[in-house]
Symmetry: C2
Subunit: 321 residues, 2 copies
Amino acid sequence: MKKEVAIGIDIGGTNTVIGIVDRAGNILAETTTPTLTNTDIREYLDSLTVKINEIVFQQNNTIEVKGIGIGAPSSNYFTGEIIGATNLGWGERVPLVELMREYYDYPVIVLTNDANSAAVGEKMYGGAQGMKDFIMLTLGTGVGSGIVVNDQLVLGHDGFAGELGHVITQPDGRECGCGRKGCLETYASATGICRTVSEIMATTNTKSELRNVAAESFTSRMIYDAAVKGDELALKAFALTGKMLGKAISDFVAFSSPEAVFLFGGLALAGDFIFTPTKEAMEENMCFLYSEKVKLLPSELDGAKIAILGASAVVWQEMKN
Amino acid sequence: MKKEVAIGIDIGGTNTVIGIVDRAGNILAETTTPTLTNTDIREYLDSLTVKINEIVFQQNNTIEVKGIGIGAPSSNYFTGEIIGATNLGWGERVPLVELMREYYDYPVIVLTNDANSAAVGEKMYGGAQGMKDFIMLTLGTGVGSGIVVNDQLVLGHDGFAGELGHVITQPDGRECGCGRKGCLETYASATGICRTVSEIMATTNTKSELRNVAAESFTSRMIYDAAVKGDELALKAFALTGKMLGKAISDFVAFSSPEAVFLFGGLALAGDFIFTPTKEAMEENMCFLYSEKVKLLPSELDGAKIAILGASAVVWQEMKN
């Protein structure tokens, strides 16, 4: 019997990554192709599909492709289009799914939000297997979220649901790239913790090796490394970050009463430094209805492979619906 | 052909209300029976079912009952039990659905959260017909919420989802009955607006007829009446209430990107006094992704009949799933 697989594709600004993934989340093959921007989209799709066919062919007829999941910027799950992604230079509206159907018979699904794909990936291959209600928070440069309710991804009426990074955690707080102030992502992202380090430097006399580094050069990794060495300021930064994140999570819980909240991404790799204060603040601020009921867990997915895993997982999820 | 109906039951602390409701939300018959507390639950169910049978019988065989929806305090949708409702005096765990099945063959569903029933009622009979993603906020003594995502009620892993009244809107804000501080319901409920009146009295010199009333005697109706007469303090109170509510809604939108948010309950009846500042604050605080996309609407359901309508609506919703 042939092995059922899904093809996961991640269209980035420079490169497109393609992977063949089985139901267990094993990547059987992987390849990349340049994202041909500022050209006719068909030219790009011609080269993309050649690459797809190549790795499918290499499987020597041992696989059965069940569908293609694509993570693409500014795309819309409902219409299958990429809309207003000017940087790609393929025009205002690109009917990606429709065009892909000229090449393939199996289902093609697009999803724009990385955190949505990560959530579906976690559900299919990771720690959320068997869970019907959970929230995935991706703590990277920004904070993204993918929410699963009643066993389904929450997309909203327009496909834009799940932007918990832009919930205002601190009224009149830090300036956010979205034009507002106090969004969760200005505190609980990799860049947020760097801002927190600057803030602690300004408001306390806490000694730290980080004081010798220009703010612009801070990285969350650097703060983690300092924390591991016991740097007091770095430890404070993690404590404050966890506090903001935990408070925010306690509010998210009042929305969907999830079984678990997963943390994914750079900041989540800091382990106890981030999980301990987050869990503490979460329980401290939680409405009693939810006390000690909601798990806070690290993602079990390989961060480097999340784009492909997530995109492919959407195929399995779609088949189930 | 017989008319398909659902029976909606609302178990209150003193009385139980029973209604026969058709698919269009018309109440064909309605009756009440005392809620026999501190007794054997079977004794209560015997008298309840006699009453149900009575109004069903009166329909002269013109109806076909498709199911029974029950709104009961501390009940659990998933297990069909009433758990820990000590004031009812029926014991710690009452297997309500199981017991009702000894009397009837058709489906019996329990739902604890009034706002959840209201949401389903709005979807089946009111302004949310045809909407797959919306949020219902009930602004009564407290603030309740019922959330519909992907055409389904959000219940969460334990049935306790949708408590947006207990999202912290103002860090370190007003004391809430839940033991925490700054919950939305301390601002945007009927009692919340009374507290706001007291606050404005304390912090400003704004003249008002309300200054002659003891704080304990304030009602949201009284504040509404004063606002209608142009009382400046009452108008300020609505403006501030709408501001807090609108800010909170803009965060809820980032979760599920709903097509609309419905307001229901005493405070929602204040019309423009509450809708105008709420809509304004909502758009002012909204992440650009959702700007001008989300409708803010008054519930179209009869407030006095909501308990029966909501409970019956759950039957139709269940049949669809």
